[in-house]
Symmetry: C2
Subunit: 451 residues, 2 copies
């Protein structure tokens, strides 16, 4: 599209950047109004780049003929995404807007789960034949470019059964002699992914191999489509966002923060908080079990928050590190023994340092006890030392192992959120602390110390 | 490279996939040994795809002539990454391995910060001239492909001062008439990024616009290089990993989990845990302030962990949601008022639900108090209700606003980690709880209830 065309499309026009900047704060009607002020060319690019949810909303507010125009702009994989989230009735309406061949492509894509390689891929890739010469292949690709190909940086070399023989990049073609056969120029050590591979793994392969596109093949090696790296950036962002939101202890939001309404927000956040709150009631039971001790030595209660939170903090830390390492593929289930040993040593070391800080604090800073150094102070300090070591070690182990256990159970490791781990550590922390204190108390009374 | 060549390179050969799978568990010497068993062609691809740190280590163990060979395989931006992390002496040695023109390119790239657009970009992009015809441009690109161009999917149309006029994709060229002028085919509404833009923002632009490459221009509009989307996948992963690790309450690791040694791990994790532990000592002071109350009504101490953790949990949730929304560019500092109001309403609602659960629990399940319904039970239940509402509201507000405050202070919002927010909530939670309880206690005593 030329510069001249840009300017002459309509009498009053809006720059797409301006609409993009304002988009977040516009309501539905304003969005439609703004969108209609774009030139046709700008509108096309703007529409294609909108998030799927926004496309769906915008389409609903347009006239049928406008709707038809814009829907047909979409590549089949994007069209499939659009339909995936629509309700039954709306889906039928939208489907009717496509030409027969596109309808067939979109239907095929809809059969895949949205977050599989199959759900991400585009069926429109550039094909070449092994017996073509390089010059023929370039010409042939040039002709295919008239169709709406997703990306024509790679030509895929297929045999008559659509099996993938190899890949030629444009660079390969352009660097080769024009008379060479494609089969001699192509790369055969192609990395492919199966249709049902989940998108997180596909993202990992892209990140590891610095690829621009990956071919998707079915069980018999027939090429089905390509996943392009520009879709993968979104996938990687999305997967990280999901992990982060789960680690924070909520259900993953499915829209930008400011666009989730109050009710939606409560639905995502209340569930886990309620579960955690109810689980946390076990701390009341645990504390109740030691109520007699607290009545005898009320000082004991003062350290409960300090002790249990040191477990929660070290547990949150360990669980997030392990969750992320698993998401990045750095850690597999089979590595559990190494994680166990690593965290055992790390937890002991962390606990020892924090325990000593707590021990020193009792003597150096606790008003009143410092000058006395009686059996009571010693006992209290020793209790803090031992229980911090125990609680931090325990928290670290729980935090590190829980994500692995969840993966083993085919659940999402990211559900081992910081608040969940902290809650688990609180209950056990209370037990560890008071059991240590009880041992010391009975010792004090036996030896005739002053409680 | 042909299939035949693959097989005939060396007598004993290793498949690159096998080496890739085993890589993680091999030590330095085994890695070198394995790498030498690859065919030359496989070795090239394998080396290029290795993480920079591994490349550096591998190179150190190779002979000077091998080192020279492999270093020269690298694109200038990857070579710059390699040098960036090396010490002064090693950097000079590696620099000496390059040809003069490459050395100049690499030096120019080294001047940029590693996580700027300039540090990410490759100076090797495909240029075309506005007055060329489409056929000429295709031929011209074909000739440029012999150089090691980073990606030749786009041709960049530059004027004589290297200023960017527009961009033509291969698809545009292939679809246009061969005799049309490039200037009439090119797109002029090109998105460019300045050299000093940070990589997180560059990643966001890629994700928003589904691009394959972005041109980097200097202050006067001269094109300096391109950032390609395959590098961006890594950037997006890295930035998310950093955020996640910080949210979990540790310093971001700079290597995969299993490759960080014990000392390294302790260095990353101990710092925050110590800070939090010392901050958490304030809870002892806060509890000490109410020790007399605990001595009078030891039952009060039983609910401390429940109350304070409900604040920590809701705070962790709010802070992670806000941190992620800011990282994704969904939330800006200017939105703070909306966040404040949203979280005020959300926090009140969450607190109300949890408070009512706590209230009901006291009556329905607390052994012994249920049948009595005396003023004491009522007071305790009311205390739980009010303090849970207060603590959850407070935790939510702290969690949501702290990342914004950190950004305002030019600090990383992700430092508002779950454990930090939980710790802040613990201290204030104790104050809120005991102040509510005190009010109720004095009330009970006045009205002659039975404590």
């Amino acid at each position: 599209m030329s510069e001249a065309q840009h300017i002459s499309d309509a009498p009053e026009q809006l720059a797409p950047e301006d609409l993009r900047d304002a988009w977040r704060v516009l309501d539905g009607a304003e969005r439609v109004e703004g969108f209609r002020l774009l030139s046709l060319a700008d509108g096309e690019e703007f529409f294609i780049q909108l998030p799927t949810g926004d496309q769906r909303e915008l389409l609903a507010s347009l006239t049928p003929s406008e709707r038809r125009h814009w829907v047909r702009m979409l590549a089949p994989d994007d069209a499939a995404d659009l339909l995936q989230g629509a309700d039954e009735e709306r889906r039928g309406e939208l489907m009717a807007l496509f030409d027969e061949p596109v309808r067939r492509e979109v239907s095929a894509l809809l059969a895949y789960a949205e977050d599989d390689a199959g759900g991400l891929m585009s069926p429109r890739f550039a094909r070449v034949r092994p017996e073509q010469t390089v010059d023929e292949a370039i010409l042939y690709l040039r002709r295919q470019a008239f169709d709406r190909l997703e990306l024509i940086y790679y030509g895929y070399v297929l045999d008559r059964d659509q099996r993938l023989l190899g890949v030629v990049s444009f660079r390969d073609l352009f660097r080769a002699r024009g008379t060479a056969a494609v089969r001699d120029v192509m790369k055969t050590d192609t990395i492919t992914v199966p249709e049902e591979m989940d998108q997180e793994s596909v993202g990992r392969i892209f990140a590891e191999h610095d690829l621009v596109a990956l071919p998707v093949v079915d069980a018999s090696g027939r090429m089905q489509g390509i996943v392009t790296v520009d879709d993968i950036v979104d996938v990687v962002q999305e997967e990280a966002t999901e992990d982060i939101q789960k680690i924070g202890g909520s259900v993953a939001l499915d829209a930008p923060y400011l666009e989730v309404g109050l009710l939606g927000m409560l639905k995502k956040r209340l569930g886990w908080l309620t579960v955690l709150f109810i689980a946390q009631m076990l701390t009341v039971v645990a504390m109740g079990y030691f109520q007699a001790k607290i009545e005898t030595v009320s000082l004991l209660a003062l350290f409960v928050p300090l002790i249990i939170s040191s477990g929660g903090n070290s547990g949150s830390q360990a669980s997030t590190l392990v969750i992320r390492a698993m998401s990045l593929g750095e850690l597999r289930l089979a590595d559990w023994k190494r994680v166990f040993l690593n965290e055992l040593v790390t937890g002991l070391s962390l606990g020892a340092v924090l325990g000593v800080i707590g021990f020193v604090r009792i003597f150096a800073l606790w008003p009143g006890t410092a000058p006395e150094f009686d059996v009571f102070s010693w006992g209290l300090a020793a209790t803090i030392l031992c229980s911090v070591i125990g609680v931090v070690l325990w928290g670290t182990m729980i935090g590190a192992m829980l994500p692995l256990v969840l993966r083993k159970l085919d659940l999402d490791p990211a559900s081992a959120s910081a608040p969940l781990v902290a809650t688990l550590c609180d209950v056990t922390g209370i037990l560890i602390y008071f059991m240590t204190a009880s041992w010391w108390l009975s010792h004090v009374f036996e030896s005739g110390g002053v409680p």
